[in-house]
Symmetry: none
Subunit: 198 residues, 4 copies
DNA sequence: GATGAATGAGAGTTCATTCAT
DNA sequence: CATGAATGAACTCTCATTCAT
């Protein structure tokens, strides 16, 4: 009877799921959990709102799933810095560009939303606590020490330097949210002075 | 005729209004306009939700009133930099501390909420456009030029420098919103490298 | 201690009560029970809304009191037809003019509101049922019979004639409510054809 | 793709819409705009109150839609007089019967509510002003002139005659609203004396 | 007696979620 | 699997009523 075999169905399911995740990421990252209506996600994904519930039990589950993905992806994104070309400061420069890239890092924005909103599902909160900023700092520490040793980065406690860098970056990402023309993204070179120091 | 004279009544009204504004500022700044329920403000102010509507016609009006106040206060706060003691860099240092101060600058956060949310009342939008970042930059420009002339600030286009400084500051303020322990406020001295340069 | 003796207080009370009743009648008659807010009555009476509750336990009680008065007054008003000068048709003509008079018969309008609204307090409903249209008809019957005997009124069942006359009058009063310019009050002479007949 | 085809869906939507309009008409006509709660309409239509908002954006929109329909229908109803059989007076007699028919003319009552309430949406007010009583009078004028020429209607200014007829009719319709047993609908023949004259 | 600040039940409206088809 | 009609909890706002002064 059925014209589609199990394999094909699975493929459709995977595609739909991917489609929804992509759409939800876009909307949640920009508008936060309360500001996002399920119908917005459905529209963005080009499907009916009813179908969302075949793939995700609830708005909260969808959001939590995204947070989970975002944690993984952001860590992978930061970890990737070691595969970028050039000296430590050049690596950081490229990483910073990627993160602040306009269309770029929705995942970072989502994490920010999850971190700064109160209506976040309990499970997402826990995830964020587990994979905290500390993870990013751990990842970046070797690079920063390299940079200091190479004399490219300013001396002093590297954790402090990293923390400052990450906080500034996180802050800037949230401003990015609406492509607000008022706030213009600062010159990366000026920004990197935080790291290179005086 | 009246059992409470006009003066006493006016005093009660002023107190209540102040109480509501304070409570609303706290909640709006933290949770944004959609995330804030009128009942939260009422609870925070220790009054019934009904009473809110004796003092403000609607949630939108209350929010807009706060934005107006915030614009005035934030501009006054920044303008105040010239009355701070010390050299240009010392003035900026103190200003930065004040702005990033934990309990401090709810008004700046509110403006951020107003700027980045989609559901902001039309009038509040206009207010924000009028008193844009440009106002802040205009206010700070003389100080930055002084600083550059004194050799304390890095050379180059002062507007660019200011823009970078303000963007970083704005970003950090939003992180401040939840007193997130994860993000720790960066050392001001490290931060100021943006301005002092290499 | 008290500068006012019991008698004076009683006088104030009576005056206030009268003032409220007059104001409430005006507003209720025009806007119905739901359309009328207690604050409207207070404003119309030139007092605070709180004071209303010193004189009437509730909106319902106030409305019911008015209905009671209105029943008495309207019956008195109709009964008064016999003291008007002229032949039966002249009496009826004057009565009709009085009832349809613009500022005139608020009581009739109130009764109409009470009769046609659903939110009327139980007690007011009972009052209206007791003092029904039948009372008016009973009052008018002798006059109509006189008129018929005098050849001024059309022949036939006088109750039917009265009922028709009262229904038309009641209907016109409701149109009167808003002084709607669209509906203009018909010529009384044309109207009286109902009674005088062909 | 779709589990219900577009045609079936459209049919459901049309039915629901019709169902809601019918229910709303019944309730609004009887209780006016303030006296009507959306939940009453929902109950009358046998649906949840939430569903009302799938079909009409707001109470005001629903009311305005009904007023629009009512204007059209009432004008059509009156215009139809020319297709009724018989002489002018026979036509008017039948028209009057139809309008005063018990279940009949909710639309006329709705217009009355719209005309006499203060809380009517702006757009509905404009509609009513546009299609005022004057429209009805314009429609009826030729018939009345015919009737006068045929000697069936009383002489005199036909507009005055029509205005009187319409005012009386409108008034009677509002009494009809509650099927009040007290007010019994008058004999049409007695009523028509207004037109036929003495 | 008189005032108006204060309360809270209830109405209009939105939107996450369910479910028949 | 896919759709969108349908539901109801929760939110904003109004207004009758209470009560300290």
């Amino acid at each position: 009877m059925s014209p589609l075999n199990e394999e094909q169905l699975q493929q459709i399911r995977d595609e739909r799921r991917e489609q929804i995740i992509e759409a939800a990421l876009k909307v949640f990252a920009r508008r936060g959990i309360i500001g996002t209506k399920m119908s917005m996600i459905a529209t963005e994904a080009g499907i009916s709102h009813g179908l969302l519930y075949h793939y995700f039990k609830s708005k909260d589950e969808l959001f939590t799933t995204l947070v989970q993905l975002a944690m993984q992806e952001s860590i992978a994104g930061i970890g990737n810095v070691y595969h970028l070309p050039g000296s430590p400061i050049e690596k950081i420069r490229t990483l910073t560009e990627l993160i602040l890239d306009k269309d770029g890092q929705l995942y970072f924005m989502l994490i920010h939303q999850a971190r700064t909103s109160d209506e976040v599902p309990e499970k997402a909160k826990q995830l964020i606590e587990q994979y905290s900023i500390k993870k990013y700092a751990d990842l970046l520490e070797p690079l920063f020490i390299d940079g200091q040793n190479a004399g490219e980065f300013s001396a002093g406690n590297p954790r402090k330097l990293i923390s400052c860098y990450l906080s500034v970056l996180s802050g800037l990402m949230t401003l990015n949210i609406h492509g607000d023309e008022d706030y213009q993204m600062p010159d990366i070179d000026i920004l990197l002075r935080i790291i290179t120091g005086p």
